[in-house]
């Protein structure tokens, strides 16, 4: 028989990992809910014609298939555009702001790596209808809160302003075509090509240096002061003021120490217009997630509303948390019970009713195998009924003791 395969860039997840990822998702959800973000579910398949409204070039590489009428459908490459579509169309009669969150898989063809798959699971949110540092601050605070609820201790948010750099290029008179080329070099992180292109611009030396300095400007809050020297014109002034205000608000939430500034930051998506950010952790060579402000996307769908949001890669978050002491799963009491699905069915039910997890084993299992099964399942005890009494084997130390049936529930909960 041929080897039975799964598509490149997809993977199967087994219970131990799934339980941890689920725990992280619930931890994130608790924080999202506390800030009033309501979960939305959108179709896994969208019409190509709908998603292409976004004008996002990256979608050209997405997975496509046909429906029965021959119309082209796309496996959603991310969640921001579907939610923009939803807010602009489904909610046409309702007044913003809207606070939406999602926990969903998306699809982008990729060369698979650890933490990078063609099918990936994300937790994210979008705050639609408020254009202010207050909205940016809230979103960043929810992000930090969610990461900390997951038990991630070491992380930073690398924060920039897309409009700051764009305004700089426009103020010094860089043409659209030249801008496009500069952005392309930046998106490819090719600073050699970037410096080369900047060198060829018809601008004076001071402006040239300002462009080079802007993309290299990164570090702590001192960046906000250092960036003053680059300001040319009111738009840059405004962008920087907003960033400072956002920083102040995030510090009021208690997360100032998490922010790193990076004014040259660019994420792959074209639609960002204001703050842009990425979550980085020293243990990982790639970001755990990111987002930003995208004030023009909804207008493309016919409703001019500002918006800001982010997405966290749950696989990446899992890798990061695992590298920092592990997922703080609270297992609760549990036993593997010999005969739990026939002879000792009543005992199993009583235990479950008192809140003990019960994994049923065959009635005639040996002590050794019962102990192994309990350990495999991450349970505290193996329980073997012996006439009127109970033999209790503790997984941690392997000690055995005999208790009465009445004592059992209390013994395993202790």
């Amino acid at each position: 028989m041929d080897v039975i395969r799964i598509p490149t860039g997809t993977r199967d997840v087994l219970p131990a990992e799934a339980a941890e990822t689920r725990f992280l998702m619930e931890a994130v959800r608790t924080v999202f809910t506390a800030f009033g973000y309501g979960e939305v579910v959108t179709p896994t398949l969208e019409l190509e014609s709908a998603l292409e409204v976004s004008g996002e070039k990256r979608f050209r590489r997405s997975f496509r298939l046909f429906d029965e009428k021959g119309e082209v459908m796309m496996l959603r490459p991310e969640m921001t555009t579907p939610i923009a579509r939803l807010a602009a169309t489904k909610l046409a009669g309702r007044q913003p702001p809207f606070r939406f969150c999602y926990f969903a898989n998306s699809f982008q063809p990729t060369r698979p790596q650890r933490g990078r798959q063609s099918e990936f699971f994300q937790a994210g949110l979008e705050l639609i209808g408020i254009d202010s540092p207050a909205a940016d601050g809230e979103v960043l605070a929810v992000l930090c809160g969610a990461l900390e609820a997951c038990g991630l201790r070491e992380y930073s948010i690398s924060l920039g302003e897309a409009s700051f750099f764009r305004a700089l290029l426009e103020e010094v008179g860089v043409s659209d075509e030249e801008q496009e080329r500069l952005f392309m070099a930046l998106a490819e992180r090719d600073m050699v090509e970037f410096a080369h292109l900047v060198g060829a611009l018809a601008v004076d030396d001071e402006d040239r240096q300002a462009i080079l300095d802007a993309v290299a400007l990164r570090g702590g809050s001192d960046v906000l002061t250092r960036a003053q020297d680059l300001v040319r014109g009111p738009r840059m002034e405004k962008a920087l003021k907003r960033l400072a205000r956002t920083y102040y608000l995030v510090s009021r939430y208690g997360y100032a120490g998490r922010l790193l500034f990076d004014l040259g930051i660019l994420r792959g998506f074209d639609y960002y217009t204001g703050i842009v950010f990425e979550v980085v952790s020293g243990d990982l060579g790639f970001p755990i997630g990111g987002g930003g402000r995208y004030d023009n996307l909804l207008a493309r769908f016919g409703r001019d509303e500002p918006a800001v949001g982010f997405a966290l890669g749950l696989d990446r978050l899992h890798i990061a948390v695992s590298g920092q002491g592990g997922v703080p799963l609270q297992a609760g009491p549990g036993v593997a019970l010999a005969g739990g699905m026939d002879e000792e069915l009543d005992l199993a039910r009583e235990l479950r009713e008192s809140g003990v997890k019960v994994l049923s084993l065959p009635a005639d299992i040996t002590e050794q195998l019962a102990l192994e099964a309990a350990r495999d399942a991450g349970l505290g005890y193996a329980v073997l009924p012996l006439g009127d009494g109970i033999r209790l084997l503790e997984c941690a130390g392997g000690q055995a003791r005999d208790v009465s049936r009445e004592q059992l529930a209390a013994a395993v909960e202790a």
Binding site: Q113, S156, R189, V192, A216, R218, E278, V280, G285
Partner: protein, 220 residues
Amino acid sequence: MVESPIPSVPLRIAVPRGNLFAPTIDLLEKVGFDVAELRANDRKLVFEVGEGREIITTRPSDVPVYVEYGASDVGIVGKDVLLEYVRNVYELMDLGYGECRIVFAVPEGRDPESEELRRLGVMRVASKYPAITRRFFEERGQQVEVIDLRGSIELAPQVDLAESIVDLTSTGVTLGENNLVEKAEIARSSARLVANRVSWKLKASTIDQLVKRIKEAQEE
């Protein structure tokens, strides 16, 4: 005692074995690293150079892999490798040495492109840069068969394995000795300093310092 060239934040630098090794070691010495052991020991892979800083030596094409995954914060690698194995790393500076060109070359006196076209065939191109070669001909709208070799590419046209080659050349001497003439320059290459995208943010001042020291060392 060599004076500390950059702030003492742990930093790992990936250095390629091969052609770029000697000039890279010279550069790192100028920058202020103690490279005596690197010169002396060609079997060791990890070198402590003090204050938590480390130099690792790898196969040239592996440098961007170590850097992309964050196993090394920065690395030194030829642009040819970056073009061939597109990796998600910051390309910070052109180090100026290891200069060469990637060219498309054919046997002297022949025009395999039109010969193959006339006979409705597909030209075979031998190269150790299959991705660069494919991209080059795709952009020209030309269909070719890329033959992926590891070394001595010039041999392929002589034994009719391929009608043409895409290869590195610095002086053109090897091409000439094998009766090959350059038809087009595909790219220029030289050694580049690359950085991991997270290190670039989290170790910003250390990496900026290193870049600054390298610039100063080059001007000396």
